[in-house]
Assembly symmetry: C2
Homo-oligomer: 445 residues x 2
């Protein structure tokens, strides 16, 4: 993309309404624009990151064998009355009357509707196990929406639902989700720690939240520092292998890691003192096993092997897709702007032309642009007639992990400069080497 053709409305001033760094930078980098309290438009740069994150979620869910589908945003109140949640949800539910005066609502989550789909179509235990998920817009009418996309009213969420014959099978689905979530967050450059959580209004016993450590997190968390040494890495996983998935679950959830809701001081004190950590965290996902809560209320049964009807065991599993942009920025930035991890960066690298209009510099930039594009990479080429300082400031703010700087002086020696946004280190090299180096970096992402 050429900057001259892009819509990147960078703000020089810090918007006064933004209290946390991710909100500030997303506004300043022209990624989002508020349209009403807690409701945002996603401008091209923000949209691009949102899609990258969504895509990683899809790929990892597909790898785990979960089926993508989509449920509508506007749902009838009837199903929610069946489960008893129409009243229970309170004022956070956006309630709507349609032109025929029927009670409708904007979906805050979708246990009821997926259960209805299930009970309409699945009759036999032979059709189990089944896990379906969607990535769809949700609405929760927060009293005080704040922190930008971290706590918006309209938000983009992955919500998945498993249907199993037995508790044992459903716990395998739970473990499968834990593994797929670990992979998902790591691909985004995040360490998200599964912590024992409170099941709240959703019901059920088994639930973990995934938290990213960040000073601006809304939850206080208590953990054994040894959990931060754990990484899933590139190990192979067979999602059908019950023991293998259970092993990962055990590895990642045995050490002490809890939010304040479930914190147990006595247990925490058994952790060696030097490893006891208290910090703040941002919740970026949650997995639940809630058994037969909805299947019993809504009569979602299958015929078991003995011919008798059995209510299915269910769980639901969520990832806050739009919120993740905020979480990633909270975890990865400096005082100049965002620092995108390679896995989610909107463009793979920036090209800064120090002397737009100089024939040699323009030619070298065009050649770099073509070489990178031919390799399937997406560069953002700042081809505007601006001063170098302004171009650098914009690149630093929007946080592309790599920048190639092209100027007449370097070109005389046959070199351009390749700069890492994270370390700030620069290296001079021939243009073709810069291309090779960037291609090699992204081959790993």
């Amino acid at each position: 993309m050429r900057m001259s053709r892009y819509f990147l409305p960078v703000l020089k001033e810090t918007p006064s309404e933004a209290q946390i760094v991710s909100h500030r930078y997303m506004l300043r980098a022209g990624m989002i624009k508020q349209s009403s309290a807690g409701i945002y438009s996603w401008l091209p740069l923000g949209y691009k990151v949102l899609k990258k994150i969504e895509n990683i979620v899809h790929e990892e869910q597909s790898r785990a064998g979960h089926l993508p589908m989509l449920m509508p945003t506007i749902q009838s109140a009837d199903l929610w009355r069946e489960s008893g949640r129409y009243e229970a949800f309170g004022d956070e539910m956006l309630r709507i009357k349609d032109r025929h005066d029927r009670d409708m609502l904007f979906t805050p989550t979708a246990e009821e509707l997926i259960t209805d789909i299930f009970r309409s179509h699945v009759n036999s235990y032979k059709d189990l196990p089944l896990t379906m998920y969607q990535i769809q817009w949700k609405f929760r009418d927060e009293v005080r929406p704040r922190f930008g996309v971290m706590r918006g009213r309209e938000f983009y969420m992955k919500d998945g639902y498993n249907f199993d014959l037995t508790k044992e099978d459903a716990l395998h689905a739970y473990n499968r989700h834990l593994v797929s979530y670990l992979r998902t967050y790591e691909r985004m450059g995040l360490q998200a720690i599964p912590m024992r959580a409170d099941s709240g209004a959703m019901g059920g016993d088994n639930t973990h939240e995934f938290l990213v450590l960040a000073e601006t997190g809304e939850s206080e968390v208590f953990y054994d520092s040894a959990v931060t040494d754990l990484t899933f890495g590139d190990r192979e996983i067979d999602y059908d292998n019950v023991e293998q998935c259970a092993g990962v679950m055990e590895e990642f959830t045995t050490k002490y890691a809890r939010t304040d809701e479930t914190h147990d001081e006595a247990l925490f004190n058994e952790v060696p003192e030097e490893r006891r950590k208290v910090a703040r965290g941002i919740e970026v996902g949650q997995i639940f096993y809630f058994g037969t809560k909805y299947s019993e209320a809504m009569k979602a049964t299958v015929q078991g092997p003995d011919g008798k009807p059995v209510p299915v065991h269910m769980g639901s599993h969520g990832i806050g897709v739009s919120r993740l942009l905020g979480a990633i920025i909270e975890a990865s930035h400096d005082d100049k702007g965002i620092i995108w991890p390679e896995g989610v960066t909107p463009f793979h690298c920036g090209i800064v032309n120090l002397k737009q209009g100089d024939e040699e510099a323009d030619g070298a930039c065009e050649a770099l642009y073509k070489s990178l594009t031919a390799l399937g990479l997406e560069p953002l080429y700042d081809d505007r007639n601006e001063r170098a300082g302004g171009k650098f400031a914009t690149m630093d703010l929007i946080g592309l992990p790599w920048r190639i700087t092209v100027g007449p002086r370097g070109l005389k020696n046959g070199v351009v400069e390749l700069t890492s946004r994270r370390t700030g280190e620069s290296e001079e090299m021939p243009p073709e080497d810069a291309v090779k180096k960037i291609a090699a970096i992204y081959a790993e992402h």
Copy 2:
């Protein structure tokens, strides 16, 4: 995908509420499920086609240089009061009060919000031209939703908006959209004819609707049969070339083609009698140039070259993404089911194992599955323990364009059967030739 792991709730009976063939087949093939009147869930198979269609739209918009972004579904009524459309829209607008009793609505279209984004960030003619678009859920509270996804209340739409300094520039944007739409529909296997249309409540003079001829179409159309000979094909187009885009516009819109809203009997009678056709059509898209209607009402001006403020010239351009599934099925089916064009088929081919459990047949199917997958193709393998007749009926109903049938008898002679869904013709060949043939077909799509 293996059928045993897929969620494909095929219905044997024809649902009584479905009046047209696309609605019937989408329900029977387990693509959608109604959740309320005119509101549907997209089950895995339907979701897959929806995403294929969405992806083609994105690719062609990107090729035309249009920038993707996303606006929220829930918008404040304030902007709509500014343009005067809050009242004008009537009961089709889904009006909502949030918990603070503020007037909100579910977006039926987004001229107001995009204009607000534009006026907040763009000040100079130097930042033009600019075209942004989104693919987002919309809601129109139809009195009588019907025909499945063809006329639903919640629907998925691409809506794009161009901002230009002059009428001339805006008409180039109009032409660019026409060209990109022609390419888009052709890639989906559709002939969508641009017809002169009525601008209705949107205002403006220049507008064309794209119509797919189908008996079940809601519009009566009148056209010179010579328009159906026109195809865009694989010609190269430079979207920056004003003359080239204008040439395509002229080529595709000069011959008589109008809906009943703009039909002119006298002009029509100038068409040679044998080429005068009256038929029915399904609207799958529309392009508009409406000048300064919104920019004047909402004060969206830029500083012109002479330093004076100028209201920008705008247009908006829509493609009915969810509706396209219905239109494609209306245009491409037989009495056994859907016939997907290669460009949008949910799976590239089906594999039918005639004797599940037979070692040789199972092995050959697995080998085919692996070879196709390794080439980046997605087969749907019917690995269920069912009779051949049932498997064939399902494959015909869901409409994959190619089917490979594998049975012990053929394998004795080293062959499988490759069948075209469209022609019904079958050919015996070694498995590796079937793979090659399918790969060659999709290399062109």
